[in-house]
């Protein structure tokens, strides 16, 4: 199977104007992924599926991932004059990264039996509504999985034939798998309250009863 870079090059040709980039994965299994922008996702995916050399006709897994607004700190080698001597000093550089939601597709080929090509779609921000292109018209296995990502992460898939909640009940309002989801306060007295249960206990029980 060809490397991800070659696939990227051929995909860029097949879907003109698509911003494609490789997302490095530095775990030993080295499954790098292909980031594609939301507008051209359908065209790139169609190319990946119909290209005679790739024939990725089986979309095994669709996952939603939530990245909060984070503050990346990387160690950067900076030349600085320290007490008169020119020296290499490591400095921690803080970069702000806006949060975003992601839909990750693992594509395999049953015809040619070769390994995963991972396709990623990122939403611009985290504020609702976040929109991503649905790939259900290409692979029907995405139907339920995209509904689940919508149900638990709130990512809207346009082009999805039947986008409803799949796991939670329909009247449920918020998206429970997001990192900033607050659970309903379901308090049940614990004989030995400790750390956050203690805070909850303080809110529920009169002062006298709660003695840590």
């Amino acid at each position: 199977m060809e490397t991800l870079e070659q696939t990227l090059a051929r995909a860029a040709v097949a879907a003109p104007g698509a911003q494609l980039s490789v997302v490095k994965n530095d775990s030993p299994c080295a499954q790098h992924s292909l980031l594609v922008d939301v507008e051209h996702a359908y065209a790139v995916a169609k190319f990946l599926r119909d290209d005679p050399q790739l024939r990725l006709d089986y979309c095994s897994n669709v996952t939603g991932v939530d990245f909060l607004d984070a503050e990346l700190s990387e160690k950067v080698k900076v030349k600085k004059v320290v007490d008169g001597v020119e020296k290499e000093v490591e400095e921690v550089k803080k970069t702000k990264r806006a949060g975003y939601l992601e839909a990750v597709y693992h594509l395999y080929s049953m015809a040619l039996k070769h390994g995963p090509v991972i396709l990623r779609q990122r939403t611009p921000g985290r504020a609702d509504p976040v929109k991503v292109t649905s790939l259900t018209p290409l692979w029907r296995s995405c139907e339920f999985q995209e509904r689940e990502v919508f149900d638990l992460y709130g990512v809207l898939f346009d082009g999805h034939p039947d986008l409803r909640r799949i796991l939670m009940w329909d009247g449920f309002k918020d998206y429970p798998m997001r990192k900033d989801y607050a659970e309903p306060d379901d308090y049940e007295y614990e004989p030995t309250p400790h750390d956050e249960v203690l805070e909850k206990a303080k809110a529920h029980l009169p002062k006298a009863e709660v003695k840590a």
Binding site: M168, F172, D186, E188, P191
Partner: protein, 202 residues
């Protein structure tokens, strides 16, 4: 009629028994469970009713699919918030006298999935539970032990008097309100007159 005379008579083959004992003896040996498997505990419930652990010895191998013909509900598995209204409605649709066995840690208190946002922390928030079996999943022998506990409980039920059995007591409710689906949680999140948590007074 003291016990000595009763033993004497039973040796001669004459059995003397109170109406209450006869009534309870008849009911306890034909408890029909409602086939109501939710999760992994349901597989252990099925294994208990199969050839090796044989629930039929206790007269309970007839698993009735419909609540109309069942008088015992074994809540076997995790009760999620989406499933809770159905569990309470099924309980309401069962004819009196009815009993509930909360099988497995999930049915008792949410079990290993207690921190789940969609998991009801125990079925005794909405319906009264007669027998709790801990375990995840409890072994078939534990389920049979629960049946024996339930049979002892049925045996000790009174026919008349203030603390008579619930189904003979007109003013004890046999129906409990079904929770509704709210925007973030079930509304009401628990049934106060059924759910009495153990309050530890320091």
């Amino acid at each position: 009629m003291d016990d000595g005379l009763r033993n004497e008579l039973s040796k001669q083959g004459v059995v003397v028994v109170k109406l209450e004992e006869l009534y309870n003896w008849g009911r306890k040996n034909s408890v029909w469970p409602l086939s109501f498997g939710l999760a992994c505990c349901a597989i252990e419930m099925m294994a208990a009713s199969m050839a090796r652990y044989d629930l039929a010895r206790f007269g309970a191998e007839v698993f009735r699919p419909s609540p109309r013909q069942a008088d015992l509900m074994i809540v076997a598995g995790t009760v999620t918030k989406k499933m809770a209204p159905q569990v309470v409605r099924l309980y309401n649709q069962m004819p009196e006298p009815k009993y509930v066995i909360a099988m497995g840690a999930c049915a008792i208190s949410g079990g290993p999935f207690k921190q789940g946002y969609n998991v009801l922390k125990g079925i005794d928030r909405y319906i009264p539970v007669d027998v709790h079996i801990p375990g995840c999943p409890p072994r078939p022998e534990a389920l049979i032990h629960a049946f024996m506990t339930l049979q002892r409980k049925i045996d000790a039920q009174k026919l008349t008097g203030p603390d008579r059995a619930r189904h003979l007591n007109a003013d004890l409710p046999s129906e409990f309100p079904v929770p509704l689906f709210g925007e973030h949680d079930l509304v009401p999140s628990k049934n106060p007159n059924v759910w009495r948590p153990a309050v530890v007074v320091r």
